[in-house]
C-alpha cells in the first residue's frame, strides 16, 4: 500500500516536472528567418553578421542567450530604446523562432579563452 502511494507520487512528480520543462512551442527556424527579414536584418544583417560596430553579431550565438536578451528588452529589464521598441512587438514564439534562426547561421562569434 505504502509502495503504491510512493509510486503514485513519483509518477505525479515526474509528470509535473515534464510539464514545467516542456517549452511553449518548438522553435520554427523558417518562421524566424521570415521575421528576421522583416524586423532585424536592417541592423543585424540577414545572416546575423552585423556590419555595424555598435550592433552585435548574432550569428552562431547561443539561442537561449539571444532569447533572454529579447525577453529582457521586451520587459524593460535591459534598457535600450531601439531594441525595446522592436522586442515589444515580438511574441514569445517570435522570440524563440528568431533566436533559433540566428543561432543556426554560420558562426560569427566563438568561445575563446
Amino acid at each position: 500500500m505504502t509502495m503504491t502511494f510512493d509510486k503514485i507520487s513519483l509518477v505525479a512528480a515526474i509528470a509535473g516536472a515534464t510539464l514545467i520543462a516542456a517549452p511553449a512551442g518548438a522553435a520554427d527556424i523558417n518562421a524566424g528567418a521570415a521575421k528576421a527579414k522583416e524586423v532585424c536584418a536592417a541592423c543585424h544583417g540577414m545572416d546575423g553578421n552585423s556590419p555595424q560596430p555598435d550592433y552585435p553579431k548574432l550569428a552562431g550565438q547561443y539561442p537561449d542567450f539571444l532569447a533572454k536578451a529579447l525577453r529582457d528588452y521586451k520587459s524593460g529589464a535591459r534598457k535600450n530604446p531601439v531594441m525595446q521598441g522592436f522586442a515589444a512587438a515580438l511574441s514569445r514564439q517570435d522570440i524563440d523562432n528568431l533566436s533559433a534562426y540566428y543561432a543556426s547561421q554560420p558562426a560569427a562569434v566563438a568561445t575563446r579563452r
Binding site: D54, K57, K79, V109, T111, R112, R113
Partner: protein, 122 residues
C-alpha cells in the same frame, strides 16, 4: 578668391578637428593589455557550453569575434546598471573605461586565439 580659399580651409580644418574630437571620446582599446586582464572573464566566457547558475539559467554568450564597440558598450551598461546581471555588474564596476576598451579589443580579435577550455564532463 584667396580669401575665399583660406576661409574654406579654415572651415574644413575645423570640421576635421571636430570629427577627431568626436572619435577621441571613447578610449581606443589595446588587445595585448586586454589579454593580461582576461582571467576574470575566462571562468565563464572561456568555457564552451558554460551556463549561468543565477538568477536565470542560460548559456553565457560567445564573445570572440564580436564587435569591440558593442562589447565595450555592454560592459559600460553593466557598470551603469542599464544591464543587470549580478556577477557582470560586480565585475564591470571594477573596470575603468580604458580597461573595458582593452578587454573589448582583445575579444574582438580573439577568433584565432587559443581554443576554449572543453566543457567539464558531467
Amino acid at each position: 578668391m584667396t580669401m575665399m580659399k583660406t576661409m574654406k580651409a579654415i572651415v574644413v580644418g575645423a570640421a576635421l578637428l571636430a570629427a577627431g574630437a568626436a572619435t577621441a571620446q571613447a578610449p581606443s582599446g589595446d588587445a595585448n593589455r586586454g589579454r593580461e586582464r582576461v582571467q576574470m572573464c575566462q571562468g565563464c566566457h572561456g568555457i564552451a557550453g558554460w551556463r549561468t547558475a543565477f538568477p536565470e539559467i542560460y548559456h553565457v554568450p560567445k564573445l570572440a569575434g564580436q564587435h569591440a564597440q558593442y562589447l565595450a558598450a555592454a560592459l559600460a551598461a553593466y557598470k551603469s546598471g542599464a544591464r543587470s546581471h549580478p556577477s557582470m555588474r560586480a565585475i564591470a564596476a571594477t573596470l575603468t573605461e580604458q580597461e573595458m576598451a582593452d578587454l573589448a579589443a582583445y575579444y574582438a580579435q580573439a577568433s584565432n586565439a587559443q581554443p576554449s577550455t572543453p566543457a567539464p564532463k558531467k
